[in-house]
Amino acid sequence: MTQQMDRPKHIGARIQRFEDTRLLAGTARYIDDIRLPNMLHLRFVRAQMAHAKVLEIDTEALEDIGFPTQVFTGADIGDLSIKAHQDYPEMQYSEQPLLARERVRFVGEAVAAVLADDAYQAEDAAEMVFVDYEPLQVVTTMDQARDPEVPGLFDGWRTNIFVERQMKGGDIAQAKAEAAHVIKRTYTTQRQAGVPMEGRGVAAEYDPASRMLTVWSSTQIPHLVRTYIAEELGLPESRLRVVAPDVGGGFGVKGQVFPEEVLVPWLAMKTGRPVKWVEDRREHLTSSIHARDHSHTLEAYVSEDGRLLGLKADISVDVGAYSTFPFTAAGDPGMAAKVMPGPYDFQHYEATFRALATNKCPIGTYRGVGRPSAVFAQERLMDDIANELGLDPIEFRLKNVVRDFPYTNALGFTYDPGSYAETLEKMRDLLAEDRAAAEASSNDPDKRIGVGLACFVEQTAHGTPDFTRRRVPIETGYIAARVEMTPDGQALVDIGLQNHGQGHETVMAQVAADALGIDPKDVHVRHGDTLTTPYSVGTWGSRGGALGGGAVHVAAGRIADKLKAIAGHLLQSDPQKIVLQNGIAHPEGQPDRHVAVAKLARTALRNVDQLPAGMEPGLEAQYSLDGPNDGTYSNAVHAAVVEIDTKTGKMQLKRFVVVEDCGTILNPLIVDGQVRGGVVQGIGSAMLEHFIYDEDGQPLTVTFADYLMPLATEIPEIELHHIETPTPLTPLGAKGLGEGGAIGPAAAIANAVADALGIEVTKTPLNANALWHLARQAEKNRAE
């Protein structure tokens, strides 16, 4: 693409994070820390039935409550809603009203908004609003959703299928005809979610004097929230400011535009007072978004000598009651269909994917988006094939992985260079002792050791064409950075990302510092505020380092060019030969003939009479970096070693190893943290986390006592190894990194369980109950 780094000094260094100080000191400012004079507190009345007509909303009890309240319902808000339409001709559309109108479609849907002067009072008042419902037929399973006899969730719907489509490449019939082995399996992954430690929250204030509406939201995508609010409320976007303050985790959950983000500003304008809503944990677990909930039936066509010839996939996702913005109901099943070919070399592929509507919380994005489920299915299948053919699972994968790059897969996606075989070979070496121990334990009556791995590619930082192809309302994926120097020679970086733990304030400073020849400490990185940052899509899709870092590099490079021109002029030297480093500019090889970068900055901004003739004053540059057409493909191999008690199924995760390749590593401290954090979320997906609904659509997992996430005591040290294959497709050679950790663990752990017990594992979570049943099944198989 563009020239890559020469002489990196700070890029690649293990620099401690600048943002840590305020986070450790308790001086960070999260959404609930926004307090405005005369502010109203909002509490929602939320649906207690999964599918029902709203007959009456009775607020009479509020008349005697003893403090002022205001109540708004669906009747007050007209047709304001979340519309997340993907331009597929066969797609059935849903609209999620900001407050339910006439009908509720999942437990937790907002029915009424209650405002009071104090958060406790708002909660008291909301409890006194009585809603009369008439129950409707509830849809809670994928089979019910596909049943044409079951009434549609929305008027005019044919069945409860948002969309069903196909993706294909090559000739699947030919692959089937040539196959010596046909292996067909169904794999399912449960409903779960990102569950950041800080829930959602929104505050809004309208200033009639400046006609400015300011909205604070705990979001990953402030610019997209701004555009949605402007379009839905019919406001000039130039007079709208969206601020994401410090955000206490996102993981994709806060990468949607939520009804509350439109309603709160509407209420602030309507009431003429600032309004704040901060959800509680139950609301978060029932009413934000959920994720996964996939069922994949795969049929693989394999040659006599163990070569994959083709793959047929049927992918269903229970996406809940509404399509979410901006990735839609088709997002998860479409992603699974798109990525299912994975790191393997075969040219015949056909996928049918469908999004099914049920009376559950809507599905949205969560770290990995479709890939953890796809990789679970794909990598379980690879082990099941290897087992059926009597092949070693690593050798079978090595026989089939892509080795020649660039490689164009069956769907026409081109993979940039990666290290698929090298990561597998490295993992084979790392696991040698564990695999021997597993082999030795295979007849142990009490304890079995199992080793499982997952090999995958991850399309990251994809550019606009990828979204255009899918006709998805996100529309684009670029990140913009504006870099500016101040007269003292320090730099400001305003970036369209939102930092909620990824370390952008440090990494972007490293990148700018290298370009400008200054210290990263002298770079102030700002983000998350539409008033100060250039329009961008925000933080999601593993694009922060690759595209955000790339944009900073290019923009800072333009300022560096100007600094060099000024230095050349002042030093009577060729600007092309000027080097910027350690805070000074000097001709290459002549560090003694130097001028301070700070002096150059002051010259450009203040002492402009000393600039070369005709040069424009100022030191500012902006660059918007779109992703590569097909993205850049990171790859990794994850491996789990487990020990299982054959009688009880009790499992201990003894070892978890990652060999990963995200291209150029910008800051190893942060890369390791991102991978480890993702892996532990993936372990939660594999073993613990499960949103359960009963047959009436009532959620049974509404507290942290029911929805279990990994604790420190439940996981081993996560062992990391890196291979760096820089991509030619981004300015710094970096590929996306943030999501990969969460993609492999379910497959690796399930393969380890299958290896230990000698049985096939077809679903997650592998919790204590599931493992007990699997252990029983294994014992029964042995007895037969």
Binding site: A28, A119, Y120, R281, L711
Partner: protein, 164 residues
């Protein structure tokens, strides 16, 4: 309303609170201590941990009215705005935090553990360190950086003690 006296981070104040007000809310609203974070409000995540008379306590499961005459310490009192406490420094060097929301709770939970180990003059094993933080949920880091931070600061304390 109930009249109580609270000593918070060295400042003693008399105030009148509703009996149902959570200590977490009173610290956040009356004392402007926004480092007290509420993660679940049902005692399962540890984000809101503060010290009550020197001991870690979940401020979301404690009514302010129960704390009359008691002394409260929050993360703001630990290492100041520079976050200069050795444990905070170790969190920084070992990447023991990402989004930072759970971090004050971890710091307040782990300081007494670090002090106890230092007083006993021993390095806890991995299992003990993880057990010490098993009441706190971190969704970002996978805990490893936190474990390493604890090990590092105890190691420093033991070395310092050995030299003294």
């Amino acid at each position: 309303m109930i009249e109580i006296t609270l000593e918070v981070n060295g400042e003693t104040r008399r105030l009148s609170v509703e009996s149902r007000r959570l200590l977490a809310d009173v610290l956040r609203q009356e004392f402007n201590l926004s480092g007290v974070h509420i993660g679940c409000a049902h005692g399962a995540c540890g984000c809101c941990t503060v010290h009550l008379d020197g001991k870690p306590r979940l401020s979301c499961l404690t009514f302010a009215a129960q704390c009359d005459g008691k002394s409260v310490r929050t993360v703001e009192s630990v290492g100041g705005v520079g976050a200069d406490h050795p444990l905070q420094k170790a969190f920084r060097s070992e990447h023991g935090l990402q989004c930072g929301y759970c971090t004050p709770g971890f710091i307040m939970t782990l300081i007494p553990f670090v002090e106890e180990m230092t007083a006993e003059r021993r390095m806890p094993d991995e299992e003990e360190i993880r057990e010490a933080m098993s009441g706190n949920i971190c969704r970002c880091t996978g805990y490893q950086g936190i474990v390493e931070a604890v090990r590092k600061v105890i190691g420093e304390n033991l070395e310092e003690g050995a030299q003294a």
